[in-house]
Amino acid sequence: MAYSDKTRRLFAGEIEAIKEKGLYKEKRFIWSPQDAEIEVEFPEGSSREKVLNFCANNYLGLSSHPDVIKAAHDGLEERGYGMSSVRFICGTQDIHRELQDKVSEFLGMEDTLLFPSCMDANAGVFEAILDAEDVIIADRLIHASLVDGIRLCSAGYDTFKHMDMKHLRKKLELHSDKRQRLIVTDGVFSMDGDLCPLDEMCDLADEYDAMVLVDDSHATGFIGKKGRGVHEHFNVIDRIDLITTTFGKALGGASGGCVSGRRELVELCRQKARPYLFSNSLAPVIVSATIRVIELLSQTTERRDKLEANTKYFREGITKAGLSVREGATPIVPVMLYNAKLANDMARDMYAEGIYVIGFFFPVVPAGAARIRVQLSAAHEKEHIDKCVAAFRKVGEKYGILGLDKKGIIEKYGT
C-alpha cells in the first residue's frame, strides 16, 4: 500500500503541528441561507444556534435576495446547469458576454474577462501581461491571491510599506530602468478595512510611467457614491489600468471574478491567462444572477447607502462602548485586541452571546496586531447592531479592556 502507516503518520504529524501553533481551522456548518441571522452548528456535532452574522462578506445583503434567487432560477431554466467546457472552446454563452459588458460599464473600464474566481483572476493576470523585463511593485499587505499570482509571474517584484506613498516613490525610482512597472494594491485591505489612496498612487504612476492594478474585491458594489469601487471614491476611474474583483462578496456572494481594464491587457488575459484557459466556464446560474445584481445596483444606491449608515452606527456604538477600533469608513471594522489568545477567547464568548465573529492573529495579520474583524452588511437592522455592540460591551467588560487603548491592552495581556 503506497499510503502506508508511516506516510499517514507524517501527514497527521503536520496537522498536529498546525494545532499546536493554534492555527487549526475548526469546521463550522451553516444550516440556513446566508443572511444577517443564521443557524450554526459549532463545534461540529453540537446543537444548532441562531446567531447574528458579523463575519460574512455579504456587504449588500444580496446573498439571499429574492430578485437574485429568481434570476438564478431563470438562468438555470433558460441556459442550463453547466457548460462542460472552458470558455474558448464551447463555454461562452450570450449571457457571459452580457455580464462582461455590464461589469465593464459598471466599473467604467474598457473590457472585462470572467474567471471562475478572483483568486483565479489574480493567479492569471500577471503572467499574461508581464515578462522578465518588467517589475511588479506591490503593497506589503495585498491579498494572498495576488501574492501567489505575482510569484507565478516571470517579472521581478518588489514591495513597499503598507500604503506608504513615499516608499512607493522610492521603489519606482529604483526600478525606473525596467520596461514596465505595475503597481499592485488592494482597494480596501481586508484585515484593516483601510482604503488605498488611489489618487496619490495614480499621480506617482503618471510621474514614473507605471500601470496600476487594484484588487477591489472588498469594495465593488458599495465603496464610492455609486458603489463602483475605490477608484470612484478617489475620482480616478479613468486612471486605473486593471481592476480584479469578485462576485463572491457584495455582488451576490456565490463565486466568480473578473479582470477588467484596458482593452489590450484584458485581451492578453483572454489569450494567455492559464486559470481562464484551463478551467471551466462560470455556471449560467451564477452569470444570470450576477447580471441581475449589477442591474439592481445600477438602478439604486439604496443598499450601499444603508450599509454606509450601518457602518457609521456600528463604529459610533463600538467606540462609545469603549472598544479600541481602527478608524476608517469601510464596513470592515477591526476591534483591536493585540493578543491572539484574547482575540480567540473573546470571539468564543461573543458566539455564546449570539454574535458570530472570528478572531484573527499572526500570521494572518502582523504579529502583535490580533483582532476580531467585524463586517457590517446592509442586511443588518439597527437592533442587530445594538445587540452586537451590547455583546462586545459585556465581553469587553469581562476581560477588563473597556476604555483601554493599545498600550493599556498590551500592558494587561501582552502581544
Binding site: R140, V147, Y157, D158, T159, K161, P366, A367, G368
Partner: protein
C-alpha cells in the same frame, strides 16, 4: 563584518519598520519568525544584498531561516563574498 552588520541593520529598519512601530531591532532580533519581515517582502532585502555586495544568493540558500536575523544574513552574504 561589523560594517556589513551595521549596513544590513540600517536597511532592515528603514525598509521594514514604520516610524510609529514600537519595535527595536538588533543584530540577533528574529525578523521572519517574529513577523517584522514577511516571506513575500523578503525579496526586497535579497535584492538589496545582491545589489550592494555584488553577489548572487541562490534561492535554496536565501531561505526564511537564513534571513531570520541580521547575524545570519551577514553570515550568508559573507560566505558568497569571501
Amino acid at each position: 563584518m561589523e560594517e556589513m552588520k551595521e549596513a544590513v541593520l540600517e536597511y532592515v529598519i528603514d525598509e521594514y519598520v514604520d516610524e510609529d512601530d514600537d519595535i527595536e531591532v538588533a543584530f540577533d532580533t528574529p525578523l521572519i519568525s517574529s513577523g517584522i519581515v514577511d516571506s513575500f517582502s523578503m525579496v526586497s532585502l535579497k535584492a538589496f544584498l545582491e545589489r550592494k555586495y555584488e553577489v548572487k544568493l541562490p534561492d535554496d540558500e536565501a531561505t526564511p531561516e537564513a534571513f531570520d536575523t541580521v547575524n545570519s544574513i551577514v553570515a550568508l552574504v559573507s560566505k558568497h563574498t569571501s
